[in-house]
């Protein structure tokens, strides 16, 4: 496998790799993004077609059948999935990519073993790394999928001696790998290393809570790319290496952005089981602290505030998406715009369950993307806003992140809704958000609360605004 492929195939790969980079570049602007995705897809088609011409590929019928089955399943999944389920979907696909990369490594090991060739050192190391990264991506992603889909509890799962156990697994992987590097032809040990890698993936995601999922999904995305690149080292294929590196880099950038937005280091996300009991503890604490007064209004009053404002900034949180209220929210903003109100949306980076999720949900509800503002762009504008309307968001609008050094969310970048002239918060009750901390925003003089489910309350606001 170490011989270079024929020139024609290599040149086609060069074109395909360029198309990937071009496609990713075009994904950088909403106007060209759709085009960019198609460009990347064409690159993939070219790469697959070129590979079929490889002289090592003799078994066409079965491969074509495999491609057809995969395409069929893929197409069905892509058209069935709901936009709210995108994080699960991406998680699942990451897992499949990781599994495929790991399988390539296992197949290559098996082939070399069958052909009773000696396995060269560098190929051996590449195989072992690919098995680890691909295996972790595979099981880790499936667990993340199960958590997001609600198949298992989204809260962190911890048990005694968890960290020592993980270290033991890691040690087992290292010992097994060293053994295989010295004596490469031991199948049982190799299978043991594969098994340990798969268990490591499970252990990696199991202690991470639902609130940290955006970070995990981004990181697994990155890993699926690195796994593909590792598979490229195994079969010495530049196309895999380039594409894998691109995805690895992209996932890493998103991971960093998510960590920053949540005010957490990657290390603490992975190793601290955030929110382990703090949700119950926090709720109890907030019950004790509610001697401050909260101003509650009804939909009619809320509609008056919105309808007679000059500018309104809507702050949607995941609570809005869960309630499927985005269509009503759009109706509300349409209605307000008809009355001459300037409406903007403020999107916090972790408003959804994955990077940019909220933007997709609002786009699905036909909110034009020109109305959506990122945190850095909208924050200076809150002071000019007459009303900030917070729907199903909590921690990301908590001013304690700015002022209270003792708060667990201190330092987290927030949407500064408390700087608006008035703030309306639509919320079911006074419960706390993911971080389990009380929100002092609710007790401010300028803040009024509309208690109720997001969907009902927004629908009521729409009908009240219509009557103004």
């Amino acid at each position: 496998m170490s011989n270079f492929l024929p020139t024609g195939i290599q040149l086609t790969y060069l074109v395909a790799a360029s198309l990937f980079i071009l496609g990713l570049k075009k994904l950088g602007s909403p106007a060209t993004a759709r085009n960019g995705n198609i460009v990347a897809a064409v690159g993939m088609l070219l790469a697959i077609a070129a590979t079929m011409l490889d002289q090592h590929v003799l078994n066409y019928q079965m491969i074509l059948l495999g491609l057809a089955i995969g395409s069929g399943i893929g197409a069905i999944v892509a058209y069935k999935v709901q936009m709210t389920e995108m994080p699960q979907m991406v998680g699942l696909l990451n897992g499949l990519g990781g599994a495929a990369s790991a399988l390539v490594a296992v197949a290559e090991f098996w082939r070399l073993l069958d052909s009773s060739q000696s396995i060269p050192l560098d190929v051996n190391i590449s195989i072992l790394l690919d098995v680890l990264i691909g295996g972790v991506t595979f099981t880790g992603s499936f667990l993340a999928f199960a958590k997001l889909q609600g198949l298992i509890s989204g809260s962190p799962i911890t048990f005694p001696f968890q960290q020592p156990f993980n270290l033991l697994l890691l040690a087992a992987y290292v010992v097994g790998s060293v053994y295989l590097i010295i004596t490469p032809d031991s199948l049982p040990i190799f299978l043991g290393v594969v098994g340990v890698s798969l268990v490591l993936g499970v252990m990696f995601v199991i202690p991470i809570g639902g609130g940290d999922m955006p970070v995990v999904i981004s990181l697994l995305n990155s890993l699926s790319g690195v796994a593909a690149a590792a598979a490229g080292f195994v079969v010495m294929n530049n196309m895999l290496i380039i594409a894998g590196a691109l995805v690895g880099a992209s996932g890493l950038i998103l991971t960093e952005i998510m960590c920053k937005a949540m005010n957490r280091s990657l290390f603490s996300v992975l190793f601290s089981a955030f929110g382990t009991g703090s949700s119950s503890g926090g709720a109890a604490a907030s019950g004790g602290a509610t001697d401050q007064t909260v101003r509650s209004i009804d939909a009619e009053e809320g509609a008056m505030m919105l309808g007679y404002a000059r500018s309104v900034v809507i702050v949607p949180g995941y609570g809005m998406a869960v309630a499927q209220a985005q269509h009503s929210v759009r109706e509300l903003s349409d209605q307000l715009e008809k009355m001459g109100v300037d409406v903007k949306y403020a999107i916090h980076p972790v408003a959804g369950r994955m990077p940019g999720h909220m933007n997709v949900l609002l786009a699905e509800a036909n909110v034009p993307y020109t109305q959506l503002y990122d945190m850095d762009d909208i924050n200076p504008q809150f002071e000019q806003a007459d009303v900030a309307l917070v729907i199903g968001a909590n921690d990301v609008v908590n001013p304690a992140a700015r002022s209270d050094k003792n708060s667990p969310i201190y330092g987290m970048p927030i949407l500064e809704v408390d700087r608006a002239k008035q703030t309306i918060v639509i919320k079911r009750g006074m419960s706390t958000g993911f971080a389990g901390v009380d929100n002092e925003l609710f007790y401010k003089d300028k803040t009024t609360m509309l208690f109720g489910s997001a969907k009902d309350m927004v629908a009521k606001l729409v009908s009240e605004v219509k009557q103004l």
Binding site: I21, A227, G232
Partner: protein, 97 residues
């Protein structure tokens, strides 16, 4: 063999830098489509799978390769299609009613 490995490492590192440069400029609005799109690209493992499945005689490695072909193809096809589905929803402000 080592020469090939070094060349491959060069390709890997340089491609990573290109990735960082290109993706750093993508606005948060498009992060989800970026993720599902790049996810589809990571299905490139399908190439390795095809080579593994391509051997003439049926062996364990061919069967593993075929399974990998199916999994990676799901990743590729679903990834690109769902990204397209998302991106067609991103619209500019329509003419006000």
């Amino acid at each position: 063999m080592t020469e090939a490995l070094i060349a491959a490492l060069f390709v890997f590192v340089l491609a990573s830098f290109i990735g960082f440069e290109v993706i750093n400029k993508i606005p948060p609005t498009l992060h989800t489509p970026l993720m599902s799109g790049s996810n589809a690209i990571s299905g490139i493992a399908v190439l390795g799978a095809i080579v593994a499945a391509g051997a003439k005689d049926t062996s364990v490695s061919v069967i593993l390769g075929l399974i990998a072909v199916v999994l990676a193809t799901i990743n590729v096809v679903a990834g690109f299609l769902v990204t397209d589905r998302m991106l067609q929803m991103f619209k500019k402000k329509e003419i006000k009613a």
